[in-house]
Symmetry: none
DNA sequence: GATGAATGAGGATTCATTCAT
DNA sequence: AATGAATGAATCCTCATTCAT
């Protein structure tokens, strides 16, 4: 057999794309810059990702699922609603703050016309857990009876904003992570 | 007079850029497509906007100030805090829902590396009114004592999200505009 | 007004394409080589011919009509059938022998998949004169009653072959032009 | 045994090249398409044909000799001149009509710059039989005293043209094969 | 020998910008 | 100022060929 397509190389390219996209902006980044950063030949990139567009979509899915994985790690399935929400919230914020590149690129890909509806669907999938909790919480009367998709989106939007604020004020003493969660909770819970 | 005509052309280019950006995506749009849509020659665009980057920045500021202008029109300066906030909120939502192109392009420009910090600053300026109200409201104990910039951002973020939800569910009976404001108010007010 | 698209430049590009195609082969010739030979910038070629394929088609039509023009110049409309055929024949042979580049490129384009049916149709058009003579000659019983398209093709094929032979034996004393016409005439006439 | 298998693969590649060339055009066909069609790995192609150019030349020679073989099969060595010529003619026409792919590819290779003079020489070799008959026929005064190479070329050219005509008019009732031979015979014989 | 991943030199276009008219 | 042809750097991708397995 010939050299087998290496998972390492695939990852290297994806990682390189992430960091170069973050540095130069997704649309100003030539594929050549990615392959160079990945330490592979220009053509090699295309044996792993047939087009730049496909690469962008794969990266998008990759980031989304990486985030989801982190959020659901050590998830306190038996905590109360607030605890579980807070766990997700803290995980999200921490990830965002410690992964500024990922966050920036994700924000760019989010509005990119190249990201297909399928990718967006796949990207949303891992976040169903949040919706599951919301559904249950609504049934128990803990949360206002809004569409679960709305709760989920609210969570996501506020978390992203919170991360952005934290990133933009590195030296603040304000605990935006806590404030943000308070706003979310007061805004949506019934108590 | 030459001056009058020029202003027309400037607007035509800006309007064309908006609609073509919305249709084809900001980064896939060549300047030639803009000038064509504007009904001017390719070169003419550059007598009004020396570079594409400058055009993007001008458009960004333009959209931001158009929005601000609308929000502050017939502003009930003497209403109570909730009334004034709600007026801004409703104006924002209405504008967003009726101007999907503007909204989409703004979302793309928001994450564009080409938008300078100066433009972002200028773009924020018209929203100081919101901060002014917030400042006052905090002083009177109506709102939680968070940084006013945070209140402002929260307002902005939730409104944008609300608009997006409304746009994505054209036939819903859910009054997302109202829900959104409730969440915002409960989340930030003290009562 | 801006610089107007110059007919000169169009010709220069077409001429350059002809000579570079002849030298390097149609399929091994990059567009950059053509523009360089034409003395224009790489991009300029594309303002005159949107794609290489279109350039090839235009060149094909151009060569075909140049040939037709020459054949029909000073055409002895009132000569007898043999005289008229011979005039066309001699013109063809002379053109082919004195324009080896044109002939070589035409031969390559003839079999190119890029040449559209429309171009082939257009390319055939100028040769209707030959068919006209044939039609008349058949009616008068001078020529065998074969389809006129067949007569025309025969003429063309034999002429091309004759030119090729002459080109390949520059120092021969054999009068292939005459031989060829004799073969054609004996082969198709009735006398 | 290794040797047997190799010969199989060589043929498979040559056959694949033929059919893919016919379908996509010789110059638009990547070697990868050939190897795929042949059911071998991309690299394997190069163990049989060190370069694409060599493959093209081998295919050219192969087609030429396949044709020659067919023409000379069951050749009526003792027939009269006309009979022998006619046998060759019919064989050629029949082959061409039943092997459109071969014919098309041969036509493209004929004008390819990649075909070496040596290959062209080799390709002509099998047709010496025709020249032999011509030589004899001239000596006996049956044929006009033109260079034998010329007779051979004429035969070839007219046959190819005839095949092309037949191929382009599948439903005609005209017997182009017969017409073509008549033209050739009248054009070159002395009777 | 067979495989197919890796390579990197092109190659056809695109496009922001310039500049002659 | 307006025009649009001219420019050529930059870009995505292709493909013949090499080479590790």
């Amino acid at each position: 057999m010939a050299r087998t397509k290496s998972e390492d190389k695939r990852r290297a390219i994806l990682d390189a794309a992430l960091s170069v996209f973050a540095e130069r902006g997704t649309w100003s980044t030539p594929t050549a810059a990615i392959s160079r950063a990945a330490g592979v030949a220009e053509g090699t990139l295309f044996t792993y990702f047939p087009t730049k567009e496909i690469l962008m979509n794969e990266l998008y899915r990759d980031l989304k699922s990486e985030l989801a994985e982190i959020l659901l790690a050590s998830f306190p399935s038996d905590g109360d609603v607030r605890t579980r929400f807070q766990h997700l919230w803290q995980g999200y914020i921490r990830w965002g703050v410690t992964h500024p590149d990922e966050l920036k690129v994700l924000a760019q890909l989010q509005v990119a016309d190249q990201i297909t509806p399928e990718s967006r669907e796949v990207g949303r999938a891992p976040f169903v857990e949040i919706e599951r909790i919301a559904t249950e919480a609504i049934a128990h009367g803990y949360l206002h009876d809004y569409p679960v998709a709305y709760h989920s989106m609210l969570f996501d939007t506020l978390a992203e904003m919170t991360i952005a604020v934290i990133a933009s004020e590195p030296n603040t003493t304000v605990d935006y992570a806590m404030i943000g969660f308070d706003v979310l909770w007061r805004g949506t819970s019934r108590s």
